[in-house]
Symmetry: C2
Subunit: 441 residues, 2 copies
Amino acid sequence: MSDKRLINELDSSSADFRQRLDALIAWEPSQDEAVERTVAGILREVRARGDEAVLEYTNRFDRMQAHSMAELELGHEALEAALAWLQDEDRQALEAAAARVRAFHERQRGESWSYVEADGTRLGQRINAIERVGLYVPGGKAAYPSSVLMNAIPAKVAGVPELVMVVPTPDGVRNPMVLAAAAIAGVNRVFTIGGAQAVGALAYGTASVPKVDKIVGPGNSYVAEAKRRVFGTVGIDMIAGPSEILVLADGSGDPDWIAMDLFSQAEHDELAQSILLCPDPVFIGRVRDAIARLLPQMPRRDVIAASLAGRGALVRVRDMEEACALASDIAPEHLEIIAAEPSRWADRIRHAGAMFLGPWSSEALGDYCAGPNHVLPTMRTARFSSPLGVYDFQKRSSIIEVSRAGAQTLGRIASRLAHGEGLQAHARAAEMRLDPSGTEP
Amino acid sequence: MSDKRLINELDSSSADFRQRLDALIAWEPSQDEAVERTVAGILREVRARGDEAVLEYTNRFDRMQAHSMAELELGHEALEAALAWLQDEDRQALEAAAARVRAFHERQRGESWSYVEADGTRLGQRINAIERVGLYVPGGKAAYPSSVLMNAIPAKVAGVPELVMVVPTPDGVRNPMVLAAAAIAGVNRVFTIGGAQAVGALAYGTASVPKVDKIVGPGNSYVAEAKRRVFGTVGIDMIAGPSEILVLADGSGDPDWIAMDLFSQAEHDELAQSILLCPDPVFIGRVRDAIARLLPQMPRRDVIAASLAGRGALVRVRDMEEACALASDIAPEHLEIIAAEPSRWADRIRHAGAMFLGPWSSEALGDYCAGPNHVLPTMRTARFSSPLGVYDFQKRSSIIEVSRAGAQTLGRIASRLAHGEGLQAHARAAEMRLDPSGTEP
């Protein structure tokens, strides 16, 4: 591609289209051996030496001078102070966002159920909350209060009794918006630690940091590798790739709005991906012009420009049907449908993390306050996974209460199948419960 | 422990109890570097050379002489022939089990929902099935038709259109019960391939084997490592550890039944774990006697004896309350409560894969035909994960359709928070949708 081009341009009717598109959307999470070794070492130390190791790494990596882990825990009053410190408008915005996120997620709460069969056998599924969850929050420039709300609120809606947040404070600098969001979301404990050492502390537990059952939240490559390694000891959420938006436009929207929606993805990261699919070449030209005109005004123009030139694209498609087929195949994290009949096209999309329908549904509204979660499957994983939700903080247990009569019917089936599999103790356990008379009671 | 002891015995009131219990339940999945290297090589070859590599590995590892991948696909008629070959009693047992599993899982199907707010904004969650799922079925002695039912039926109930099964046939030997179970469960395609090469073929796709979105099913250490490596490219289910049963008994049950239930877990594998918690020392003695008396009659007595001596235990507890607390902490795959009031104790258990209540609810019935899934979280992962279910084959997309009025309210909140996070394009995207008049329409 030319280095003067603002954004890649593709045409679905050209011979090399599929090849170019595949190259554009391809993404392999890098596995860096140096990161792997470093993280393995840190986790080993934290597991063996607990607080002592966490303290050492925190002082070293975050340039802190803490003498005990107690200095690295923020009490409830520190969170309340952060909340009090906020400007009224910020606090109101955070609280309004939290209320909307809570209202949406309350509809996701699963409920236990059971049913009794004719012979008195009761079967069911009990749903309850995970007991203790760790929430990783990045420090520094990528510290987003909205991310605290989006991770913490579903956990609390699920009924998680104890939510333990870790957030590094490099050089001792705290982010009051993040702490205020933690207070609003109902986080129970906060430690100012980060990196692989924080993940290790949560996974294995230390004298000060309680061992959790699951760890969620975004982080850098060390945090991601640490989560990958402790998976199994604890649960983890998905490990996210760069953020993505795919806009399907029939040509009826405002090109400026679409350009800005593409920017709002691109400004996250040079590796973020913003793609427009549109059958109307004139409209594509207007979006191109809008990009060229609006980009210089953006404070984060360098990041946006790098993202658009590297991984962004304006794609001319034959028609909206083809656009829908491509969108399903790409399975984007965010999908905007800016068209006269958005629902008509939405029905044809099989895979997307979140779908934003119509011109008013800017992705930015979903990122902050529409209600649904902004933690979404990236890297085409929407083919098989879901937005973060209440269901990620609940787990199910099957309930099996067989009646005496049920044991007769089920026992005969189980015995037959167990013998077929050569598992005679299984068969005998079933047969012992059969009535000696051989007749069903 | 003495080498003459049939099973470990612990007492919760002894000083070293917790230490001994922790040692007994400790389980670290081994990470074998030789396995990792071998699997990485196989996956690389399958990805690069497709069918050719799959064919080579299959001929080598399974001692086959296939000349093309076409020879390694079983058509629908092969499955129907396996079904026809079955004895009537086996077929009836398989079909009865399948019907019960299907009926239970139908209650797990998630439904899409949405709601419209006062200002016309619509929010919702769309649920649909994963498009193509791969099912790994082990070959040889660990080939269990019940496992085919338990993995395939939830996928079909979820509405997965294409379910692709792989099952190795070492030396060309097919297991007709497994193929019959595939026919009953509605499996769409079957390839007689296995190992890491089968996992690679499903994850990356080849000319013959379709690329799937998720791979489920048990396998040996090579299969487990391959699944771990392709995770992200495709979804995977949990990687299971050895099977476990924990029996809570108040002393009211039949010691022979309990002994056999402990055996039915132990007969799976020398590493399987069978533990009894009981406050009544006399009853524990009767279970110990039953074990000694019944064990010599069992065809799989060597496996059972090794499992009980190595990882099994009879634990005397102070009371049932303590038993429940220990059970929650252990978070067993299978939990039997054989007591006068099983529900009373079940309510105190926070974590278990499946709970079997009352004397008639032998775990063996759940393994085959009660209805709930027999694929359950092992290695204490019931603290944060669930039985395999329909929900593992469905995924969710958020729906956000903001009205013009909604964009005014949400836009102000989003703009404020986005500026706070330094994401100006997000803020601008929201602000562009605000009415210029500044009043809400």
